[in-house]
């Protein structure tokens, strides 16, 4: 059975990284095999564990691996792969000046969430034998683009597929009239689009499947956090993704009024830690004071 994936999403600075680290550590403490992955380009896990992390997960204790995705490296890798495929597929003349175009592409909007998606899919595949993959997400804007990416891509592939099928019909008509036979050659563009559509559908269905994936909203008990949480829930709902629960971090006994749209979701209250836990011993010492629901997966 593949690893269950748990995303921690929320406004910047609410404590996503700390709660991701604590819940991953608590689950490892209970004997689960856990991978903690940061998809936030401004990583915090190194500061929390007082250890340098990179793309390749490293063990920090029994049953717990930690990695920080190198988003820029994944963007460079994707562009390099495309460039190589273009050089192999294109004839000499068109392949000229590819480097120049790819330098421009590096700054195209949308590459960051594309790279996040690649890291995520690669990690999920490579560590599928683990029990849990805990993901520390970037702040709201980029995180929402990540979750919306397969839905947006599906809309584009749907439109491009319809157009490509029209093109294929015309080509078959021309070949039939001119040569008296049907075109047998396969359309590689059409095949690539069908494959992209399949991948988008698979990821959308994964995000929407509560048995394989959970999204936890992390917030602080203040009105701004709750308002942003409401917008996150609504945006996720548009992508067919439901929140699993709400982690109210730095809870000191008093909460802001809960917006109606979020009132039905289970809430887990996590107390404020003084000082903030940094390093494995400090993190470990916080585990006793944590609500059991934080790592109940």
């Amino acid at each position: 059975m593949a690893a269950h994936v748990i995303f921690h999403i929320g406004k910047g600075g609410v404590g996503k990284s700390t709660l991701s680290a604590l819940s991953a550590l608590a689950a490892a403490e209970r004997g689960k095999r856990v991978l903690l992955l940061s998809l936030d380009p401004a990583h915090n896990l190194s500061d929390i564990f007082l250890e340098e992390f990179a793309d390749t997960p490293v063990p920090v204790r029994d049953g717990l691996l930690v990695a920080e995705a190198d988003v820029d490296a994944w963007i460079r890798r994707s562009l390099r792969e495309t460039e190589q495929r273009m050089r192999a597929a294109y004839s000499y003349l068109t392949a000229l000046n590819l480097e120049h175009h790819f330098r421009v592409l590096r700054h195209s909007p949308g590459l960051e969430e594309f790279a996040l998606r690649r890291v995520f899919e690669h990690t999920r595949e490579q560590w599928r034998d683990h029990d849990v993959i805990v993901v520390d997400m970037p702040p709201t804007a980029l995180a929402m683009r990540f979750f919306a990416a397969p839905t947006v891509s599906a809309a584009w592939t749907g439109h491009l597929l319809a157009l490509r099928r029209e093109i294929k019909d015309r080509r078959e008509m021309i070949t039939r009239v001119k040569l008296g036979k049907k075109e047998l050659e396969t359309d590689r563009v059409l095949r690539t689009l069908v494959e992209e559509q399949r991948k988008n559908d698979a990821l959308r269905s994964f995000f929407g499947d509560a048995s394989r994936c959970s999204v936890r909203l992390v917030l602080n008990p203040d009105p701004l956090s709750w308002r942003e949480g409401e917008r996150i829930a609504s945006a996720l709902d548009e992508c067919g993704i439901a929140l699993r629960d709400i982690l109210v971090n730095r809870f000191a006994g008093e909460d802001s009024p809960v917006p109606a749209a979020l009132s039905a979701l289970p809430r887990v209250h996590v107390p404020q830690f003084h000082p903030l836990p940094v390093g494995i011993p400090a993190l470990q010492s916080c585990l006793d004071g944590l609500p059991a629901e934080l790592s109940a997966f």
């Binding site: 994707s78 562009l79 495309t82 495929r85 273009m86 192999a88 597929a89 294109y90 004839s91 068109t94 592409l105 195209s108 909007p109 949308g110 590459l111 969430e113 594309f114 998606r117 990416a149 947006v152 891509s153 584009w156 592939t157 439109h159 491009l160 157009l163 490509r164 029209e166 093109i167 015309r170 080509r171 008509m173 021309i174 009239v177 001119k178 590689r188 563009v189 690539t192 689009l193 494959e195 992209e196």
Partner: protein, 95 residues
């Protein structure tokens, strides 16, 4: 190519050529439409280069290596961009 020797063979060749010409004419408009659709497809996938809304990067990057011919159409269009009407009318039937 062998030289036709009999009248029958001449006639057969003539009919074959007429057939090819008529078939070519019959699909002229469809061919033009086919090129236009591919041009639109290329613009949609690579529109970012000319300021059009572009699909997400994953789709463009997946398709680009398979789109040499479409890229050629785009570049050809750049050459004829100053004379779009002459190109359009040249693809229409003369009568």
């Amino acid at each position: 190519m062998s030289v036709p020797t009999t009248l029958g063979e001449h006639l057969r060749r003539l009919l074959a050529q007429l057939d090819a010409v008529q078939r070519g004419k019959a699909v002229d408009a469809v061919e033009w439409e086919y090129d236009e659709l591919r041009h639109i497809f290329a613009l949609l996938v690579m529109g970012q280069a000319v300021g059009l809304p572009a699909p997400p990067a994953d789709i463009s990057l997946a398709l680009l290596p398979e789109m040499e011919e479409e890229l050629r159409i785009l570049l050809r269009r750049l050459d004829t961009a100053q004379a779009p009407f002459s190109q359009l009318f040249s693809s229409l039937p003369s009568e």
